[in-house]
């Protein structure tokens, strides 16, 4: 056993490979996080529904605070409020109103789907439910848009 080479040679090659492999840095890993919502390579309906819910949810929270801020105008009395009303009834703002309705419908109806399926109702028909609710939402959206732009005093 005089030619045993264990101590001087064995570890070198193996340990070098192990060391490089266990090194933290160069492993390719797309860091998780909300960028995944916008991953266009994922084309599934379910992924779209999830992303839509996240994005509209954030939009609605933003609107909630915008809305509360705007309503502070009411505290300023009649002049302040009626001044705001003039801006709010321009076509641009009415368009934003339609966007709001879209957000509410998309988030609300998809949320209804998640709640219904997630609590044991209609467990196997999630796609049908999604399309049904979205169709319903689209009809309501069109109706609302027409109403917002045409309702006259």
């Amino acid at each position: 056993m005089s030619e045993r080479r264990t101590e001087d040679q064995t570890p070198s090659g193996v340990e070098e490979i192990l060391r490089v492999r266990s090194a933290e840095g160069p492993v390719e890993r797309k860091s998780p996080g909300p960028t995944a919502w916008f991953d266009v390579r994922r084309r599934g309906t379910g992924h779209f529904a999830f992303s839509l819910n996240r994005i509209t949810g954030l939009g609605l929270v933003f609107y909630l605070y915008l809305h509360l801020a705007v309503l502070s105008q009411l505290l300023g009395g009649e002049a302040a409020w009626n001044g705001f009303l003039e801006t709010a009834t321009t076509p641009l703002f009415l368009g934003l109103d339609v966007l709001l309705v879209f957000g509410l419908l998309a988030h609300g109806l998809n949320g209804l789907r998640v709640a219904l399926i997630g609590s044991g109702f209609v467990p196997n028909r999630q796609k049908a439910l999604f399309y049904t609710l979205m169709t319903f939402g689209a009809i309501l959206l069109i109706y609302s848009a027409i109403h917002v732009f045409t309702a006259e005093g």
Partner: protein, 257 residues
């Protein structure tokens, strides 16, 4: 299609295959293109093996059984989760085919992902054999007890790759682990600590993080239907809560403070 119909079709053409490449010493990931000769039933795995053999021996990929039983060859083909071994190129549309590693796991090398963190998501070392529900008319020999068979889940990771919540939140245990937990509860071989398993599932990183996208069920090549199992698991959790006589807590106690 029956096996015989598959044998009958043998046209020969070529397909352009784009392959995700990543070697640690070579800087960031890139894409290599290859023109691969294909027949009517050439699979993605056969195309990748052809590239290894004829054009680039350094291409690394995982494979083992070649018939959708081991779960090692999961990749994304044109953005969708597939087992390379049972996905004919003819089935993924015309034109260029893009092959990438599955998502939501670290990529070690080209198409090879590190399955360690996938396996670590599972609640415990899990049984791979269960009772066979097939051929119910069969008269099982007395000395066998019951016909048994392997679990459907082949631990391929395609469900985790397809899950939009896993793509966003790495702490979510993901569909495969939850589906496994539900199967263990459903077909308890008598060795399951049910309470521990339900406690494990009853977390904000487990059954309640699912957002019902059902992408896992779409991706599963083995008909495990993880999303349906997660919903069934929630039902088990609700039933346990009810059995324990817990009322819906006050709003105030909801908050984590």
């Amino acid at each position: 299609m029956s096996a015989e119909d598959r044998v009958a079709s043998t046209t020969q053409e070529t397909r352009r295959v784009r392959v995700h490449r990543f070697k640690r010493d070579d800087g960031p990931a890139h894409v290599d293109e290859h023109e691969v000769p294909v027949g009517a039933r050439t699979t993605v795995l056969e195309a990748l093996r052809w590239i290894q053999l004829h054009e680039d021996a350094t291409l690394a990929l995982r494979h083992s059984c070649f018939h959708a039983s081991c779960g090692t060859c999961g990749v994304r083909v044109n953005g969708r989760e597939r087992l390379a071994c049972v996905t004919p190129l003819a089935d993924v549309g015309g034109g260029t085919v893009t092959v990438e590693p599955i998502a939501n796991l670290p990529v070690l090398n080209d198409l090879v992902v590190d399955m360690t963190s996938f396996v670590e998501r599972f609640p415990e070392a899990h049984a791979i054999v269960r009772d066979s529900e097939f051929l119910p008319q069969a008269d099982v020999p007395v000395d066998l007890g019951a016909f048994e068979r392997f679990e459907d889940c082949i631990e391929c990771g395609l469900c985790l790759s397809a899950c939009p919540v896993s793509a966003t939140d790495d702490s979510y245990v993901g569909p495969a682990a939850l589906a496994f937990a539900q199967r263990m509860l459903e077909e308890d071989p008598g060795t399951v600590d049910r309470d521990a398993l339900l406690d494990w599932a009853d977390q904000d990183t487990a059954a309640w993080r699912c957002h019902a996208a059902f992408e896992c069920t779409e991706a599963c090549p083995s008909n495990v239907r993880p999303a349906q199992r997660i919903m069934a698991l929630r039902k088990d959790l609700r039933r346990r809560r009810r059995d324990q006589g817990r009322a819906i807590p006050e709003v105030g106690s909801e908050d984590p403070t």
